[in-house]
Symmetry: C4
């Protein structure tokens, strides 16, 4: 089974998730700055979640480029990842509406943690079952960001229940860590493609 | 007519259905555990419906891979299936908001029953009109899950009106039955593809 | 410019239009048959609009298969069609909520009329600028359904303001007229494709 | 990395943005002309935003056709553009609901300004990193519309705070400026493609 339809379906779901989060930004009734002010935390949580979905789309894109074929197990591992990501709009809206209080921020972190674990499972299954190139597999096994992220999400979730601002900082930090591109994977994938064409 | 645009449109509709169901999980006003509690049945019905749409996407994916070409009748049979699946978000939201009471659970089962019948019609038309490989056709004709499901949905719908929890159990059972991958179809499709490439 | 990305974008918009209409079917608070009853007109208008979007998707699919390439004018003619179709969820919701009263039904017909005119413009531009096969052009020029529909929509819109039930009947009639597949276009397109492969 | 999945994801997001804006057009409770009247400004702002998303889709389509390959930086520049465009439904709804008053119109202009800057960044990165044809690069460097638009959006944003109707006129003017097709880019791209096939 080729990866194209899996990519198309995932793209569709991620595009919808990234877009329906903006529905939480409800147009206020007033037309002055005071009416916009309560929207600020909702807007900030939207920005963070937009970046997270962007990161997942980016990584998903790279991961599936490495996969040669998919089977039923990989399809379900992919749906498992999409399930947790589909809860991000809810967590984003709840966090934003409650001005980054304890429990909403902890739930936000828990959703990110579950999505990170689901991503690790998907990556593991693709490396095992999909016959990726040895160098891509080696590159993914040196994936310190993917290993560190679940730990940081767990820390952020715990910290949120105690000091909400600390939990929020952890989530922003992980997003920044991922925003900086990883030249190694791109280089290795590039080399593999280069060789495949020669 | 090739199947690619039919797949793309179906993927789009299924991706939207699976994602708008999460809009029923409305962010509560409070920020404590008590505020989350009424969301639990909504969340559970979301999980079940997510799995069902995932199952339909998976099976639809396999079925259309077997089809060589589609005509106007198959396009409408496909839209017929998408119509019933598009009612799942409504049935999910109604069931979840009413804590799995009689009528909502029966409506949920009736929507699943109609979708299952629509899927059978689509499968029948593809086998008849689309010129699938004989082995795929034989494999589909031994499809006990596809034959059993409508019966179980009908039982679940009836049971829901009498003992709601029993109806709910039947729907969970059918979902689990489908989650376990069917190695036969995958193997046969794999063989056919293998031969096609040689 | 090839037609593939135009098809993908149109498929996306049509998939979203066909799905967000179901959001008008809001889960009622009660859990008995009396709670479902006010949803009946909303459901019926949803069924009709679902069929209409299905018809447009089907025809759009056939039309773009005939086009060899698209230019900026065709892109905008296509967006013009999508604009009017995007108003169908509004017209559907308004009609359904007001139990098929005069003005909502007339607005519903007016939206269908504008969409039909936009489709005629798109078809005209594709035949003129896109270099379709002569037989497809001839087949499209004999397109009595496409010529009759705007007239019927205009009649239905007028009738709705006078006898709402008559207007509704006209809209149902036009939908049925399109549901019956047109063997001629399919046959001609099939022949053209057949020749292209030999 | 090829451009196809970037296009598919962008198409998905743009298709959803263009469609969810219509959700602001809420079906009124009444069924007479008086009930439709308050929807007029919402409708007009919807029309303008629909045209703007259409313009962005058109230009994005042309720009990515010129790109041969994309890297991580271009992926993020594209997400940056989609982020600002995803705020257009909010700005549209707020402007329409407040009948084109000062601050909403200025926010609308500010979102358009940010999107225009994001588009310029994306175009710059694609020309620099993606190895576009020299004639396409030259054509893009003569892109007076792309240079003029941010200035006009900034003027419109400022004017909105002072004379709302003037700001609104500027936004309509820029949209009209883009609606008129630019024959040069299309011709150059056409020539490049023509040569590539010979």
């Amino acid at each position: 089974m080729r990866t194209s339809r899996l990519e198309a379906f995932s793209d569709g779901v991620l595009a919808i998730i990234i877009t329906i989060m903006v529905l939480e930004l409800k147009a206020p009734h007033g037309a002055d700055l005071a009416a916009l002010k309560p929207l600020l935390p909702v807007f900030l949580s939207y920005v963070l979640s937009f970046i997270y979905i962007g990161i997942y789309w980016n990584n998903h894109h790279h991961l599936l480029k490495a996969a040669h074929r998919v089977d039923g197990t990989i399809l379900w591992a992919n749906l498992h990842l999409l399930f947790w990501l589909s809860l991000l709009p809810f967590a984003t809206g709840w966090t934003g509406e409650n001005h980054f209080t304890r429990l909403p921020l902890a739930v936000y972190g828990a959703v990110l943690l579950c999505a990170a674990i689901a991503y690790k499972i998907l990556q593991h299954l693709i490396v095992r079952r999909s016959g990726v190139d040895a160098r891509v597999a080696a590159s993914l096994s040196r994936d310190w960001k993917g290993r560190l992220s679940p730990l940081l999400y767990a820390c952020g979730t715990g910290a949120s229940l105690w000091l909400p601002w600390l939990g929020g900082c952890v989530y922003v930090l992980v997003a920044l860590m991922w925003l900086i591109p990883d030249p190694r994977i791109e280089r290795v994938v590039g080399e593999v493609e280069h060789h495949a064409h020669h």
